[in-house]
């Protein structure tokens, strides 16, 4: 049996494999595919369960309760608490993300190599490009089809064009998208080429077993060597998987927490937490824009990526859009009754701040404090968002900044927001996506948790495949680079060089 549902496991269960992979998101799926296709006996363990497209609910609350970790309300602790979003299902966040695909930017790779020359051989650029080509072909990555883009994406193109900013349809891993705008709740038509139906399916076809609804709580280590993992199934049974190689792919929050819970506190585990905090702005347009229709996230502005800013259309359903509008009481109700005319665009910031993941009462706690430069980027990003919206024809914009104007149609107000706006991150409603760096890859064990070959500095047979190993944040959506690096991780775990054909 290739799939084992942990909800049915009421008694103890032990499995044996060559490679056990903890986590089935982009990293775990890519590592499983690579290892299984190269002949290894692979077991993937996932805390969430399998879902089929017919299971994906339309109301935001049902989707968040069913598919997201902690109802999508996990929060970083700090002067400006911000939610961070993680999926909890087979496929990780892939079935519920915006399907945005970027290749690892060359400048980010160059910065990694400049900081640690060993990474040039460990992560050869040409190999990464070849692996990425293969992944993109498998995932059907292509620019958003204008026929299903919808007004919110077309308006961003118009606004960016008017401001002279480089922009483009977002490249997404969808095949036959109908523009239902439901990516964040799981595509009910099954059109997203998420890793559960692509890379994991390939792994299963090559013999990998998938153990769902099992939360791994410890990595077993004997005399400096990883021997497997232990956890508990949702059905109540204790689960043990013994393996020659243990690959952690549970995310930049869960992976360091699992290491710490296992007593593996060597190196800067949990430190160097990096992310892309994002802020958004709403705008009201004279014609209905129906934000919940069209490609969920179909257009982006790349012209200010050098400043650490990347702008995207957003694709919330009505509930989340309503909650993000300013005001309360009759003011809010009036805006909500006019919801079809409102939309929300976001800007993701390549933050320079570093946070930390710790464990408290058995659960990860993330602390993060944006720097003043990060807050300046929030202000700058919001100004540009507002200018794009007004250039695209918005009646007015709703900046959503405490201490700033509630609504405005004046460019001067937006300029003042950037120049004189709040210096405290608390004034902004921000959310975190894309987390990195908490088990960073480095030659020096004082600076990294894993070696350049993804192997733990202190424990043989233990590898980390997810974005924890990224030395820095990327400034772009990282799912494809995560898959690419995880593919190389799997090769290393099998004792193969990274450029093995």
């Amino acid at each position: 049996m290739r799939r084992i549902d942990g909800r049915t496991l009421r008694g103890p269960r032990t499995l044996r494999a060559d490679v056990v992979i903890v986590g089935s998101g982009p990293a775990g799926a890519a590592a499983a595919r690579e290892a299984a296709r190269r002949g290894a006996d692979v077991v993937v363990v996932e805390a969430g369960r399998f879902f089929e497209p017919a299971d994906f609910p339309a109301p935001a609350f049902d989707a968040m309760a069913l598919l997201y970790r902690d109802l999508s309300a996990s929060v970083v602790v700090g002067p400006a608490p911000m939610p961070y979003v993680q999926g909890r299902m087979v496929g990780g966040s892939s079935p519920i993300n915006g399907a945005i695909c970027w290749r690892l930017p060359r400048d980010v790779h160059a910065a990694w190599v400049a900081a640690d020359a060993a990474l040039a051989d460990a992560l050869p650029w040409a190999t990464l490009e070849r692996v990425t080509d293969d992944l993109e072909a498998r995932l059907g990555v292509a620019p958003t089809d204008p026929a299903i883009a919808g007004p919110k994406n077309q308006l961003m193109a118009r606004g960016a064009e008017a401001l002279g900013l480089a922009h483009r349809p977002i490249r997404r891993n969808v095949v036959g998208c109908e523009g239902l705008g439901r990516c964040l709740q799981g595509c009910p038509k099954g059109r997203k080429a998420s890793v559960d139906v692509t890379l994991l399916a390939d792994a299963e076809a090559a013999g990998a077993r998938i153990l769902s609804s099992v939360e791994i709580t410890a990595v077993d280590v004997v005399r400096g060597r990883a021997t497997g993992v232990r956890g508990r199934a949702d059905g109540g049974g204790a689960v043990t998987v013994t393996a020659e190689r243990v690959v952690l792919a549970a995310s930049a929050v869960q992976t360091p927490a699992l290491l710490m819970l296992s007593g593996l506190r060597q190196g800067p585990v949990g430190r160097n937490f990096q992310c892309h905090p994002g802020v958004s702005m709403a705008g009201r347009f004279p014609d209905p824009v129906r934000m919940w229709e069209g490609a969920t996230q179909g257009h982006e502005v790349t012209g200010l990526r050098g400043e650490g800013l990347k702008f995207e259309t957003l694709g919330f359903g009505p509930a989340i859009l309503a909650a993000r509008l300013p005001g309360a009481g009759r003011d809010l109700a009036a805006r909500v009754s006019d919801l079809a005319h409102h939309l929300d665009w976001g800007v993701a910031v390549k933050a320079e701040a570093r946070g930390r993941v710790r464990v408290w009462r058995g659960r990860p706690v993330v602390t993060f404090r944006p720097t003043r430069h990060d807050v300046a980027r929030f202000r700058r990003g919001l100004r540009v968002l507002g200018e794009m919206m007004l250039a695209a024809g918005a009646d007015h914009v709703l900046p959503g900044v405490r201490g700033g104007p509630t609504r405005t149609d004046r460019l001067a107000d937006l300029e003042a927001l950037e120049r004189d706006g709040p210096r405290s991150a608390r004034a902004f409603t921000a959310a975190i996506t894309h987390m990195f760096g908490t088990c960073a890859m480095a030659s020096d064990p004082r600076r990294g948790v894993v070696r350049p070959d993804f192997r733990h500095h202190a424990v043989d047979g233990l590898y980390v495949a997810d974005s924890s190993v990224f030395p820095t944040n990327t400034g772009v959506n990282p799912q494809i680079p995560i898959m690419a690096l995880a593919t190389l991780c799997a090769r290393r775990a099998l004792g193969l060089p990274p450029d093995t054909p």
Binding site: P59, P318, S337
Partner: protein
């Protein structure tokens, strides 16, 4: 921990005031949330559940007093409730907690299929 009867009254009054009916959109007071609350209690992480409860207590029982009313939110007129919430938007702690209540309220409102249909319907 179970909510007291007073807390339930405060919760319902806060949500009614937060999203009253407007245009074709029903208010939170018009929607049957009987099915929503057990699902929310089951799904909400502890910090969100506590935050929402704190929001209900402070916004519905404390804030009206700070605004000069010697009554809690359920005993205020619709105009008074609206004025109290506008005030909350300008007070740091109350503003943060109001955001928590807003998120829960919007999720609750749009969990109702009839509301979803009303908003998504094309004119």
């Amino acid at each position: 921990m179970r909510w007291t009867r007073a807390e339930l009254r405060w919760r319902d009054a806060l949500l009614e005031a937060l999203l009253p009916p407007a245009g074709a959109l029903p208010g939170l007071g018009d929607v049957d949330l009987t099915d929503f609350w057990p699902r929310f209690d089951a799904a909400a992480p502890r910090h969100l559940a506590l935050g929402f409860r704190a929001a209900v207590t402070l916004e519905a029982a404390v804030l009206p007093w700070l605004c000069g009313h010697l009554r809690t939110l359920p005993r205020l007129t619709p105009d008074e409730r609206d004025a109290v919430l506008r005030r909350a938007d300008r007070l740091p702690l109350f503003r943060d907690l109001l955001e928590v209540a807003k998120v829960v309220g919007c999720l609750a409102l749009f969990a109702d299929p009839a509301v979803q249909a009303a908003v998504r319907a094309r004119p």
